[in-house]
Symmetry: C2
Amino acid sequence: MYQKLGLIGCGLMGGSFALAMRRAGLVRQITGYSPSQSTLDKALNLGVIDEQATQAADAARDADLILVAVPVAATESVLAAIAPALSPKVLVMDVGSTKCDVVAAARAALKDRISCFVPAHPIAGKERAGIEQADAGLYQDRLLILTPSGDTALAKSREATKLWEALGSQVTSLTPEQHDTIFAAVSHLPHLLAFAFMRSVVQQPMGQRFLELAGPGFRDFTRIAASDPKVWRDILLANREEVLRQCLMFQDELRGLSTLMASGDAQAIEQAIATASAARADWQMNQN
Amino acid sequence: MYQKLGLIGCGLMGGSFALAMRRAGLVRQITGYSPSQSTLDKALNLGVIDEQATQAADAARDADLILVAVPVAATESVLAAIAPALSPKVLVMDVGSTKCDVVAAARAALKDRISCFVPAHPIAGKERAGIEQADAGLYQDRLLILTPSGDTALAKSREATKLWEALGSQVTSLTPEQHDTIFAAVSHLPHLLAFAFMRSVVQQPMGQRFLELAGPGFRDFTRIAASDPKVWRDILLANREEVLRQCLMFQDELRGLSTLMASGDAQAIEQAIATASAARADWQMNQN
């Protein structure tokens, strides 16, 4: 049982963590901080937090658990702000979708307190962002990736593992570099493609009419295009080398398929689709 | 109440239509035909059809309703095969995802019987293909597009509208050309992108490891990549001009976003994502 959770950032991810901790009976008191007063008011009214802090350091002070759930580019300034207020026994985690930049930010900001920081990335999300979407079950049965660096205390990694497992997550560990390579391929690039696709549709003169007739395939393919612009701005920039590398491979593949279509090579097209179709039909989430 | 439904093609779409007709109490007898005997056996065993036909024309003979649910490139040969067996009062429909080619095929194959043919496209699908996936509720609350040509009898279009409405679909009409332009943008291109994306992931040396860690965003984005290879081979070829035109616009957009990422222009990236995010957040299915 944690005595005080300091929640820095009260959006979908942070809010869902707070609700999950509460539901699991793992926390006595939750103090939240957000730079937006209206978000903070919503968090209090929705029962996500018990108390509002006017500064990040106030949310962190005396906390034995701190979750930093902000767009990744804000990680360094948040950690720097709370560093002087950290209690000796605290566990600090983030939920960022990129990890090399977060580890570098933590080193720069936390300095000799770096050992209490365990970088975390829950593989979970929702169609829409915001504290109103917070959900105690968001992390249940979902993968949770920890990317401890050489600076992370082993005891803190173990504590983080236990904690997320208690919330129903399946915990696995990667290096920050492995993490960023993998998620460039299976998460960041798909987001980029979904953003580009939505833009290419709505910018057409008949785009609105097109959207009126779109069906369930479109619905699922574009779900991630509704993601939070600030969060994804930061992810795409923080991991841009890997994402652009994946994007080039995708563009090559798309050009190849376009060439087959233009040439009318039915057999080659069928074979190409069959590879994709079989791979996707065989895939199941969380079978690691 | 129809006396006999001739079902040509016993896959997800055709099977679901048969089950929906049965559930609605709108048909007395369903005779199915498939070039695959094992599919036909499954259809009988699953209770989708009452009787097997050994030729398409036998399924069509004496039927007052015929549904052709085959990959679109097979439409012309199927219609030519059943043309001599059509009863005077029959309504013939297809469920193909492209319509200009289907209308041309129907003209060539049905000749002076063309007036009984109403081209139809249900905006519905599932993660996996095949008769085992057939579902009486597949068309419920889904859009159903009719694309009657000048050759289609008005009474047949009305009959088709009534029929699909009785199955719970929301019926709307477009010209075949409008249909193919719109669905190139909101359905065919997303499929092409999903196929290309899956291929670009699985062809990487670490592709399988990547897939093990993919989460719900990947799941939804790639759902349509599991679609049937023969069905989508035909769609991508039949509508290739429009699909390739949409693909070029998408590629321009993707290059633009890549350039912003490479230049590190955070504000422009956020703005670009915000356009996509707002458009997707505002979108709701079937609000036409």
